[in-house]
């Protein structure tokens, strides 16, 4: 056992758990389900730490969590999963019904509910970029790593997302 890995893991857990939980919760809308996915995320993160050097732990955690959410949607099947061959033709991007419906098991404040409702008006492709940039305050580079596209694409999505959101909000 490498004690350095344990420290790295503990630090990653301390610094990212709340953000990961939110990131997953807004997509699955169920607290218990979100906790299960966050748990799996950390287990996979631990496995990766043992195999290779991780330079950007936060980006890796988000990427794992995002893939697990996609798997969960695929298994669930009750929610229609749209496939899209876009800028990243190698992968299939999944547009999830995030920010919709009530969140089960979590007491969400009225203000947060209103923001969620307003963001629901955005197309998921922009919503995700705007969420990671303005809620979780990730850099475009980190978001690019998580979503597996270039930083330029992310910058465009953020700008368009912000413009669309502003027009939706009439500001």
């Amino acid at each position: 056992m490498n004690p350095h890995l344990s420290k790295l893991f503990e630090k990653a857990y301390r610094e990212n758990t709340d953000a990961l939980f939110r990131f997953v919760l807004y997509r699955v809308s169920d607290k218990d389900q979100a906790l299960d996915i966050v748990e799996d995320t950390y287990l996979r993160f631990w496995q990766t730490l043992q195999k290779e050097a991780v330079l950007e732990p936060r980006a890796l955690l988000y990427r794992i969590a995002r893939n697990l959410v996609i798997d969960w949607y695929k298994k669930k099947k009750s929610i229609p999963v749209q496939t899209f061959a876009g800028e990243n033709s190698e992968k299939t991007e999944v547009f999830m019904d995030m920010f919709e419906g009530n969140i089960i098991g979590v007491d969400v404040k009225l203000e947060a509910k209103m923001i969620i409702e307003k963001m629901a008006g955005l197309e998921p492709i922009y919503r995700e970029a705007v969420y990671l940039r303005y809620v979780e305050e990730l850099s475009p580079k980190e978001i690019a790593e998580i979503l597996g596209v270039s930083s330029n694409v992310i910058s465009v999505r953020i700008n368009r997302g912000v413009s669309l959101l502003k027009s939706l909000l009439h500001i």
Binding site: Y13, T17, L25, K109, A112, Y134, V135, E137, L169, I171
Partner: protein, 232 residues
């Protein structure tokens, strides 16, 4: 809604207990596969989470240290006399602190009264110790004059704002009684003191005497005005 308001979504968090439980689940699963692994997660206390950054710790301890030193110095300066190192701290710092809490002319006048008593007390203590010099006498006299001026100014404000003669009479009466007692003591001190100190002490007694005379004149003026008003 503005863009920065999106951060409010961050309000949704896990509790410390939930995070600990989740970590336990994760570490148990890892331990099943790798029994050598040691993982730990502790709930930071509210104080620890505030002071976890070393900069916060340094600033916190420095502030506590400075506060302790300042408080100890301020406390030690209370008995300081002219010529002591801490006398400047007493008159320029400690005695000025209550100015931030006393907002009414009444409370300020009472505090000026207290400071006048402090100055006279300093005369007495220095003389008793045989340490009254010309410089020290002049220093106290200078501060005493300032305290008298502050007292008079606050009395003027009480008169102007509330025309509260009862309060003014009470305050001036108390001060007069106190000054009468002290001036008797100062007269005795003057008799014992060297010639060079006598002059300064004389001016303090003179000041007290003048106050008494001015007060009598004021009272006569007020009575005169009241009489005129009644006749009109």
């Amino acid at each position: 809604m503005k863009m920065h308001e999106l951060k409010k979504l961050k309000d949704i968090k896990l509790s410390d207990l939930e995070k600990k439980e989740l970590f336990k689940r994760i570490s148990n699963t890892i331990l099943k596969k790798d029994s050598d692994t040691k993982l730990s997660y502790s709930i930071p206390s509210p104080f620890f989470s505030f002071s976890i950054r070393s900069s916060f710790l340094k600033v916190g301890f420095s502030a506590i240290f400075l506060l302790s030193i300042t408080s100890a110095t301020a406390f030690a300066s209370l008995d300081a006399l002219p010529g002591d190192v801490l006398y400047g701290v007493k008159t320029n710092f400690v005695e000025k602190i209550p100015n931030f809490i006393y907002f009414t002319p009444e409370s300020r006048a009472e505090y000026s009264f207290k400071k006048i008593e402090n100055r006279v007390d300093e005369f007495e203590r220095l003389s008793a110790k045989g340490k009254l010099t010309k410089e020290k006498t002049e220093r106290i006299e200078k501060d005493l004059n300032k305290n008298f001026n502050d007292f008079d100014e606050n009395i003027r404000q009480i008169r102007e704002r509330a025309k509260d003669n009862n309060n003014i009479n009470r305050l001036e009466g108390e001060l007069e009684v106190s000054l009468e007692q002290h001036s008797e003591k100062i007269k005795k001190i003057r008799e014992k003191e060297r010639e060079e100190n006598k002059q300064a002490l004389e001016s303090v007694i003179e000041r007290v005497r003048n106050r008494k005379e001015n007060k009598q004149k004021n009272e006569e003026n007020i009575k005169h005005e009241e009489r005129n008003a009644t006749e009109d």
